[in-house]
Symmetry: C2
Subunit: 706 residues, 2 copies
């Protein structure tokens, strides 16, 4: 028995289908027919019981008028009835000892029928069963033959001809958990086209009971699963999901996620820069990556990456070798790879010598290009491909190999695949293949590659996109994410500056030397204590974009300027309706401008964000968000993921940033919201980094007002 | 007779194939066989003459021992002989009155055989013929049946079974000009898979005579061509190519270009920021877009965009309506579209009302989502799709429609395509379709859409990528690009600052007020004339990154600071080995920091670059390069193409930039290198824009030293 009784969905001893119709097109009947067909083919071992009070017999088999009539223990009940009949059927199934039910029927909260949803929820509780759905196509298990997908494999055109309209993939090690039936079909179809097999598919529908995290946990302990592809729209209990990702990774499985809702914005009011820029999507992507998942942009990538990871290990690095017999391909592939951040490094001298020797011996074509990409030309045959690939592979300097034996040149036969696969298997590198075209020949070439353990793609850009994505997987070291208790209060108030500075200092983050003054003379005294040049700014939590209103005066170098600046700032504050506000006199801090934010996310609770600061912050939007509190290795990962992380290596005369010190600051900062549940949003902006001296120049924070 | 005698390649009265072998696998024979087969099928009308001195007869037809033996005017000679025999054959062909030759043979400069290339060149000149190649697969004309592609359409597996390995697409309006045979095959195959037809293909090989620009000109006046897909590796005579693009656009054709060599860097030394960042690739992309072409990233896009433009007009704007019967698809498609900059705007209220009325009448499913995306749910049939699409289309507010009738739900039949196509045809919008899957059914659905004028794709992301690319086409207003005489000299020397400032001022670009001083007292006087605060900087052309070495002092507000700054700058200059250098005292200019550069590009001659300036210039690399001199509409296009062009609308308290004034500056600046052929590189950095006040703060320039 698997996790939380979920085994009954995938490997039931017996299945009852409630709502089997006499009409062959009705959903219950389609499901029943497919299950019976799988049984006839010997794939499915479970007993199948059709239920319909209005039928006596189907294909010579008895149809039961109710569940209670069945004289057998029914493990799994599949319900395809009008929505109003579902709760009663669940109760009945529970009474008859069923362990699980799949509610295919729609018509619940997805169409606003919350009352019926509530009554279904109560029925499930009373029944003690585990329920998948409602409003779902259910599950498909390629090994046990359980399949409730009511998808026709053949459809008729209006002229009467019929054509295959869907193919269930063969057996493999990819499990799919999806919040959309259509998306699951799309992934299955794409995997099928790639020649990839699947382990099982589960579509969660409205998730009234069985949830995505539970299914992930199920596949985490499933020996047949090596990769889990996940499609999520909304997530409730974000940290629970992350913990299941960790469990999967701990058990050696890879995770590929497509998250919908990319263009949604956060629902809560944003008071800080980071809060305004880190929406729901950014938080999800960051958290998923932190938990070791690969986040993809579209369905094709979901399928493509899953295929690759079901056959190959992720690469150790980004150094790519390209081998082809088509010059144009080598140019374009090399372009695409480098534009994606892969490294098309040169072949070692010794390998070039070996290839040149092969040339001189006539074992590879004399016109072969012996750099990387290696282009053997259209006159290369399979033997030449093998010879050249052995040299490339044995060089040992590449993390990935992209093999593109283009099938069009006359010398190229399909024997090349097994020759290459033999070398690929012992290469220690991550190997993917590509052969373009939609002819039977190219489809066969790709299928052959997949059968020989080489994930194969039709388009170069897909192969390269896959290599890019799988060379960027974070391996979490943490056991779990602590669960966070969400607060319901929405009203926020600013935290006084003094308190913020104290909070930050207590967490080992150095704050720029500053004093708050209320007269010009005090300002001069403060400036002289701090040392010129100083910065002066309005001290009010109510003015967020101080720079925009002229509320920050830089490069003040003497007494006269201090007095002028003081009066100017007071004047600006008064114009904005802030009377008698204090003025901050602060040391001038130079360095690379960063920004560090923290906020309570709707889904994941406290999160921490690091980004590139400065006037262009909002324009370049270079941020990474992880779930708080972060560890040292996670802080390093955040910095690596910044698009412009190169800035940290030194920039325009600034020395390289002390990464260890910066990581420590991120780690410590990420604890503040966790330790202080009253704080909702917090931001250091800018955080100035000059080598090892990393200083918070300004801090802002908001707390729940109740 | 077409452009420069090229008609003989595509529509010859007679064709001689020289090098027809008795072996059916040899190239000359494959070509002959295909031409004969096209003749038998009645596609090809030309006479075909096989030539081989060692053969008498083939299929009962006479084989000629030489070209001179043929008693007919031979228009086109196809040569598939060993390279050394080619020049002689060209001479002979010329003597016999042939107008054109395709040299399929390789073994010339692509393998370093420059001597043979030279002798071929001489032979061509003497012969007076037009020659395509050498080292090319030649041409394929879907209308006349001329086809020298020596690609097998069927290949045998090693077990003896054989399979289709290549399919020539049907007739259509896409012409392809390619510098690589493999790439041309890839494009043809992808177009074939999409159900798209082609007009003709020409592969230029080593381009010894017939060049890409000439072929473009040929297709520009070809009535059957509506789109030209171009693959270019290297370009010589860049402006000639651009002028052919203009000609194509003027004649109503669209251009889609894939340029190889993305990761190449410029070959000349870069002295300015822009010169260092604008490499060969960036200049090509900018110039191609300026000439009205769409530049794509990979081969699939080359095929996908060509297909779209052969069936649909480019959209007027970016407002997209999405219509589907799969909820998951609508979410993902909407995500992808918005992430690509398309606008998934809401349906107008009146359209929502109409859809709700259709619901209440039972003409569309009651669970339909009546926002944009419109999701009709899996229970929608073709009639419902038609009803809903009519409402969406008649709303008139969308520039593009993405139709995704997913074929898997049982109610959906192929009749939906003709229903939708009828509405699409009169919609005035750009319409593309998508149906996922590789089954016969989905392939048929997509082919049906294409046949009904709706470009159709398997993956949503491809459909959306196409819409994004075709909603971003520049329509040039210029007639031509003036041809630029290249300079060979490479050695550069800095242009004195005074001369640069004069040059810029003469072109109507305001320069920040400044004076160059050589003593501290002079500096104070200058500062007082200019008005505090001032900026002071080292005045030396030899120090490029002045900020990095502390050579720029900002915010100097009184006499004492001026003197301190003067001594400091002198000290820094001396440390860098620049003795007794002048110091610039300059007014403080505020605004949005831009950068304006100009350099002589290897391919296109003088170019102009506009970009986002400031300390992060090199990090964000937001630049657009066009060919000089630019016109007002082109300057506007450059600004629009900046990734962070939003900055120009006002930013952090700075008012919106006066675009008209900025355009005028770009236009004037772009003339400088054209009018002064001695200047190689020029840069204004920063160009500060504060509303309508746009001021050059620093100017640098290098000229040819000889």
């Amino acid at each position: 028995m698997g996790v939380g009784g979920l085994d009954a969905f995938f490997n039931p001893k017996s299945i009852a289908v409630v709502g089997v119709s006499r009409h062959p097109d009705k959903i219950g009947r389609v499901i029943y027919d497919r299950l019976m067909s799988n049984r006839r083919q010997g794939v499915l071992k479970s007993e199948i019981y059709p239920v319909n009070p209005e039928l006596r017999e189907l294909y010579g088999n008895r149809v039961f008028s109710s569940l209670s009539e069945i004289n057998d223990e029914v493990d799994l009940v599949v319900i395809a009835l009008p929505a109003p009949q579902v709760p009663q059927t669940i109760l009945e199934a529970g009474k008859n000892g069923a362990r699980a039910a799949i509610v295919v029927s729609g018509g619940f909260s997805e169409v606003g029928n919350d009352q019926l949803t509530e009554s279904l929820r109560r029925a499930i509780k009373l029944s003690g069963m585990r329920v998948l759905g409602p409003n779902t196509v259910g599950v498909m298990d390629a090994y046990t033959g359980v399949n409730t997908f009511f998808t026709r494999e053949v459809k008729a055109f209006s002229d009467g001809r019929s054509a295959q309209s869907f193919i269930f993939p063969s057996r493999g090690s990819i499990s799919i958990v999806s919040q959309s039936g259509a998306l699951a079909h799309y992934v299955l179809d794409t995997l099928g086209e790639r020649g990839a097999g699947v382990r099982a598919v589960a579509c969660v529908g409205n998730q009234i009971d069985v949830s995505i995290p539970e299914l992930l946990s199920y596949f985490a302990s499933d020996a047949l699963t090596s990769v889990v592809a996940v499609y999520v729209e909304g997530v409730s209990g974000g940290r629970e999901l992350l913990n299941r990702f960790l469990e999967l990774r701990r058990n050696g499985k890879q995770i590929v996620v497509l998250k919908a809702g990319r263009t949604l914005v956060g629902r809560r009011t944003a008071y800080t820069h980071t809060a305004s820029m880190v929406g729901e999507w950014e938080a999800h992507v960051g958290a998923f990556k932190q938990a070791g998942a690969i986040v993809v942009d579209n369905v094709k990538e979901l399928a493509d990456v899953s295929l690759a990871l079901s056959l190959q290990k992720p690469p150790r690095g980004r150094r790519l070798a390209i081998l082809t017999n088509a010059g144009g391909f080598s140019v374009i592939a090399s372009d695409l790879a480098q534009a994606s951040g892969l490294e098309v490094i040169p072949l070692p001298e010794s390998s070039i010598e070996k290839l040149e020797w092969l040339k001189s011996e006539g074992r590879i074509p004399s016109v072969s290009v012996t750099t990387n990409p290696v282009d053997l030309s259209g006159s290369a045959d399979s033997a030449a491909f093998e010879e050249a690939y052995r040299v490339v592979s044995e060089s040992g300097v590449f993390d990935m190999h992209l093999l593109m034996p283009f099938h069009v040149p006359p010398m190229m036969d399909e024997g090349v695949v097994s020759r290459l696969a033999g070398i690929a298997r012992i290469s220690g590198a991550t190997v993917v293949g590509c052969d373009t075209g939609d002819t039977e020949w190219s489809v066969t070439m790709r299928a052959l590659m997949v059968r020989n353990g080489i994930p194969a793609y039709k388009d170069m850009e897909d192969a390269i996109r896959v290599l890019t994505l799988i060379s960027d997987i974070f391996t979490p070291s943490r056991e779990s994410f602590p669960i966070y208790e969400a607060r319901s209060s929405e009203a926020l108030e600013p935290i006084p500056r003094a308190h913020l500075l104290e909070l930050v200092s207590e967490h080992g983050i150095q704050v720029a030397r500053e004093e708050v003054v209320s007269t010009g003379d005090e300002a001069v005294e403060a400036a002289e204590r701090i040392g010129y040049p100083v910065v002066m700014k309005i001290s009010s939590e109510r003015i967020v974009h101080k720079t925009d209103v002229g509320g920050v005066q830089l490069g003040i170098t003497d007494r006269a300027q201090v007095l002028r600046a003081f009066n100017k700032l007071r004047g600006i504050a008064e114009k904005l309706g802030v009377r008698e506000c204090g003025v901050v006199v602060q040391e001038t801090v130079q360095g690379i401008e960063l920004i560090l934010g923290s906020k309570v996310d709707e889904t994941f609770g406290p999160t921490v964000t690091v980004g590139i600061g400065g006037v262009l912050t909002e324009v370049i939007r270079d941020f990474v968000t992880f779930v708080s509190p972060v560890q040292d290795d996670e802080a390093e990962e955040m910095l690596t993921r910044l698009r412009f992380s190169g800035l940290l290596n030194g920039f325009r005369g600034y020395p390289p940033v002390d990464r260890k010190a910066l990581r420590k600051i991120i780690v410590n900062f990420s604890k503040i919201l966790v330790e202080n549940p009253s704080i909702a949003q917090l931001e250091i902006n800018p955080l100035m980094a000059y080598g090892g001296r990393i200083v918070a120049v300004d801090v802002r924070g908001w707390r729940y007002s109740l």
